[in-house]
Subunit: 277 residues, 4 copies
């Protein structure tokens, strides 16, 4: 593929918007070289997502694992801010696209970033594995320096609500199956499990892998760069955000606030006062 | 399911956020009654989307058609404002979730609403079909009143760039196949084709069905309410928006403007002047 | 100013982004013809807002009224969805700009559109005033056809929470003062008051003007087109949204949901079930 | 004011949404203790912004400087991504609030963060000034460690387009005037100027203070915490974003892309290919 200077000093306006993803002529659309009419009906949604992000079609087992990760994280209920935001927005007289965007917009470092951070952590451990150390030792070293740096929570492990997140063991089971079938290496599943075991030794209690840790295992096994773990989570959670925005639309309501209408917040500020003269 | 008064006069805070979609207990998550660990690995992404929006699992043929519609509309290149917006946002120091949200936010009545409007139009025609008239006559009557009301464009038909949108005939072919297999009725495909034929007679030239018209046929065949045609399009286009935001991230750039850096807009306003005294 | 064809058939890339608002050369920035270094220190924020929207500087009395409208609507507390959304977003690991955008995004037809709709209503009445009818009669006629069309609420009148919105009478008092000083005509204040009186006769109880009705009087007196009533409200409410997002940032919290963490929503959906075989 | 535990273990739903900013009773609204009907007409927009963010009313000179900073940064033309995004969104069939939100959403670390980063830098220098060193020495030391840490650009200094940003010297002149009048200390103006001088020695050419550096001087002189420098910039730039979205609405267009309709992006990806069997 042609190399372009970073800041488009080619001077051509068209080059300012260059892309490897899509080409068009009148009557013709190609994604990564494939004609759309050939893709339609022959390539599934998860395969299309892979093709768009990665540039090549996935193997069948890869597409299946990606699809599993995507379907597993669609929703965590109206207490999740992304969901609540979309439900409230849906009562404010905006389109479903706007309600959806408002919810996705909140999937930031804290609400949507754990998967990305977990992939980063796994990759840091994976990079050390070439030095032939024992995996337990490597993980302990990485966790040590992680906690020494002032971090409190290991991304992808522990859950405020679920003692064991029911999604994680099921997802790992399916990664194992794919590893047995030679579709992935299983290295990241091993890394994830070693972190869990190491954390238990370190903290004296089990802090089990959660949905973010488990989908991060899948995304890392599949070779996605860390930031796309967040991106793919956004695609996944969009489904729940849309479902809730639509349910709220049907329930009705206008300008839905966070708590029932007859309740008011607690005011903790300055007592009533007059303007100074 | 329990009926609730519209404005939550139950007084219970928990009822203010009532939902049919998801239930949770510590260690347990159920969507529409199904446990997540059972869904994972047994239900595909398109089936999960259907379950979340509709409340029940789809038949296999229905899920296949939904998946086809979703994968067919992921991207239309950087000239589409939703894509361009996300690419520019991705250079501004925000997260991928924010870039994605900015793109989706633009999929409004004009950019993302054609599918929704097409489903509405199809449904208006479908409602008249119970009166046993000839479909050609019904369509002509509906189009007549559509144009008389001052509308200029029939949503889902015609394309600025493609003489024939390569996605539409392929999508209709797959609807026909599903109708032959008894998975859908094929009524909406017939309505769509009749609109196309009617438009050609009315305008004296072919104005072929486009992607929005064709996916609207699928969504209507599958029984989705019109607003979800927009919602599902947003899920679909999210894929392209994310792929482009990510490609732009890799290309680099800071504060990417719409045209190359060394170009400037044309100023058409008041000539230089001094402030009045 | 040069006229340009609607769809930029000039062919020049620079013309695609033509504007009357701002011109730049290296070392020089002009808004509406005025050099920025002259504007700074000589023109207030409200005057600058007027200049940007309208193309000319306002008279002193006009700028004062605009400033009053802008400062009067900054906040209505955390039960307003726009405020709650921004506070929740601020705990999700996004920037203040993203939290602010999420809140503003919700100021749609229902949450932020009453002022725009009120200006439209006032203008419909104002247009009829040229026919020399009595204002009471005109208002009654317009309200009659408004209710006959199926509308239930008159935009800008009545309030769920406040029996009398304390902002409205104070704002009208200041419009009266400006009318007495010849800075505005006072016609829209008269229209607003006549609507209030007419509504009381029609409904048998007082439905007093609220903040949206009162700021709409100001925006209409100042000649702003109706859509800018919403736009200016967004500028105003941005202040409250930012203040709350910032307060929430300081209060801390991660992934703040709408109700306290230990509470859960009411599930009203399908009872637990197994996947079909 | 009452202290609340961080995570609302008071158990009261109302406390979950506690705030120091606003209190309401039916018919009564108070901001920071002041009744709205007293504020209206007596307190300007900039003073209201200060009150909302800071909790107390500003002195007159403080309000004037804040107003100057807010009015000085409203717009930098359609090549700025925030402006271009809003103009494109305005043609997509969404509300002005949505177009505005899309633009503001892009004011991230790169597009909207320079002011915040400059305040942080100034404060780092200011903190060292208590150690009685010469300001030149302190600044050089801080810049040294700033560049050693791999940073390339000093936030608030230098401009891609303007050899000298015409806003900066004018803003500094007004800060000097306020310092002479005893309204601010002038320490941050001194810090900013010392950075400029130091940079010139270090780099061998002048890299003059820009708008972000100059407004950061003002925000720091006024005691705003660094993140609010970004927040206040968002309020300021909102004005330009709204003005451009509105101008675009009047110019018309549907689904405005970044470059004229008859142009296409450069495709740099895989050549046409067939699906593998």
């Amino acid at each position: 593929m042609t190399k372009h200077p970073r800041d488009n000093t080619t001077g051509k306006v068209e080059d300012w918007w260059r892309t490897d993803i899509i080409d068009m002529k009148p009557g013709e659309i190609r994604y990564r070289g494939y004609a759309i009419e050939e893709l339609i009906g022959n390539v599934g949604f998860a395969e299309m997502i892979w093709l768009m992000m990665r540039g090549e079609l996935p193997a069948k087992g890869q597409a299946e694992l990606l699809e599993i990760a995507l379907m597993s994280a669609v929703d965590h209920g109206p207490q999740a801010p992304g969901i609540a935001i979309a439900r409230m927005a849906a009562t404010c007289g905006v389109g479903l696209n706007n309600a959806l965007a408002s919810g996705i917009n909140a999937l930031g470092d804290v609400h949507g970033g754990a998967g990305e951070q977990a992939v980063d952590l796994y990759n840091a451990i994976r990079a050390d594995m070439n030095n032939e150390d024992d995996l337990d030792l490597i993980v302990e070293r990485v966790l040590d320096s992680f906690f020494s740096a002032g971090n409190k929570y290991v991304p992808g492990f522990g859950h405020r609500f679920h003692p064991v997140d029911p999604r994680a063991p099921r997802l790992l089971e399916l990664v194992d199956r794919a590893a047995d079938a030679g579709q992935v290496t299983g290295e990241y599943a091993a890394i994830g499990r070693t972190i869990e075991a190491s954390l238990e030794r370190l903290k004296g209690r089990r802090i089990p892998m959660n949905i973010d840790g488990a989908t991060a295992v899948i995304y890392a096994e599949l070779g996605f760069p860390a930031p796309l773990a967040r991106g793919l989570f956004c695609l996944s959670r969009s489904v729940g955000i849309l479902a809730h925005a639509w349910e709220q639309t049907q329930q009705g309501g206008r300008n839905k606030g966070p708590i029932p209408r007859d309740m008011k917040w607690t005011y903790t500020g300055h007592p009533p006062r007059k303007l100074p003269d």
